[in-house]
Symmetry: C2
Subunit: 225 residues, 2 copies
């Protein structure tokens, strides 16, 4: 069992909501134990440059506390990877950004990646990973913050945006907001479009699981050696 700290950038007092991303990772990766904390004073999360800038020092502060409390790896559960470079400079443990993890996993699944998030363009760290493989970007109509995703019109818009990416020739869809992970909508979008759909929270779990389990495997020896 490996201890992972997960940083939410959406402020909430509700424990089920606060712990949800961590529980999704725990269910998919039984070797991981995930504890979540959120930054203060951002009840609408991160949705533009200003809300990202103000979040970064809070993320670094939380990261230090979680590392001191025994986390072996940290996940920043936001597709913009806010604070990831800053935390990496301060701490030596693995720091995983949900955005770059999702973008990376998408590249293993296809070559023409479409992003679906809450901003007109995908977050910069995702764009940097995807490079020329990023061929289309989409967002649901009438959605500005992660909270708007949780409405009925938000959900309708998400499916429309996914179908648009398919029509534009994408061969894989990369979700570009962890609010979509909260909705647990990746599988349904996959069935609706016939394309692989990458969930950023699960992608972060994939990377954490890979990193923390390496070195703990027993080697397999060939019979003859």
């Amino acid at each position: 069992m490996h201890k992972v700290g997960l940083i939410r950038v959406l402020t909430t007092d509700e424990q089920p909501l606060l712990q949800l991303h961590g529980r999704l990772i725990e269910e998919a990766f039984p070797h991981l134990q995930v504890r979540s904390r959120c930054i203060p004073d951002q009840p609408q999360g991160i949705y533009d440059a200003a809300t990202e800038a103000v979040a970064v020092p809070k993320i670094v502060h939380l990261a230090k506390e979680m590392a001191a409390a025994g986390a072996e790896a940290l996940i920043v559960s936001c597709a913009a990877d806010p604070g990831v470079p800053e935390v990496r400079r301060e701490l030596s443990l693995p720091v995983i950004g949900a955005g770059s993890a999702a973008a990376a996993l998408a590249l293993a699944l296809g070559r023409r990646v479409g992003t679906l998030g809450i901003t007109a363009e995908a977050p910069e760290p995702m764009k940097r990973v995807l490079g020329t493989h990023l061929v289309a970007q989409s967002r649901p109509a009438a959605v500005r913050t992660t909270l708007d995703l949780l409405t009925e019109s938000g959900t309708t818009g998400i499916f429309a945006a996914a179908r648009e990416l398919k029509e534009r020739g994408c061969d894989v869809i990369c979700l570009a907001c962890t609010g979509l992970s909260t909705l647990q909508i990746a599988d349904e979008l996959g069935r609706a479009t016939g394309l692989p759909v990458v969930d950023p929270v699960i992608a972060a779990g994939v990377v954490a699981d890979y990193l923390l389990r390496r070195g703990t495997q027993n080697n397999i020896k060939l019979g003859r050696t």
Copy 2:
């Protein structure tokens, strides 16, 4: 349990060697059952353009047989992803190339990737995924084919090549030959360099596990909904 077909591009009659990559994946991902077959008449594997070209139709042929026999996904266990585009055109199941899977996973772990393989430059599919994040390429001295890796001077050269990548500023090492997976040397290289080291066979397993387990998870509901 999900059935995965794994295609080796090194011809061998020895079952322990033939099945080794599959067993490494099964050990890391207990939900996967991996059966391996190899292409005929290439006892030295793939190590240049000519040996790759002759392998592709054999890979497509094997892939069709394995899909017909019930494989839910296919892994081509070679860092050059030989035949992966061709198989994807012929079959509708997921087809994972060890090279692009490894390159993708490397991008989730760092931004300055160094490759370590048996050719002067990394295979094209890895270079395409890594784009501008590929900052250094290395190979052990006096190694030409995957078999040369299994000698004592091969091993010494592998560690020297890994240290060279670290000295050149890489923050993650991506192994660029699945012969290095046969050696199960990624963890040791990680300890020797202090960098995360991506094993291409395990990376292919990461992607297969992600793809095949999606859609089979139970959703987690928030307490209040």
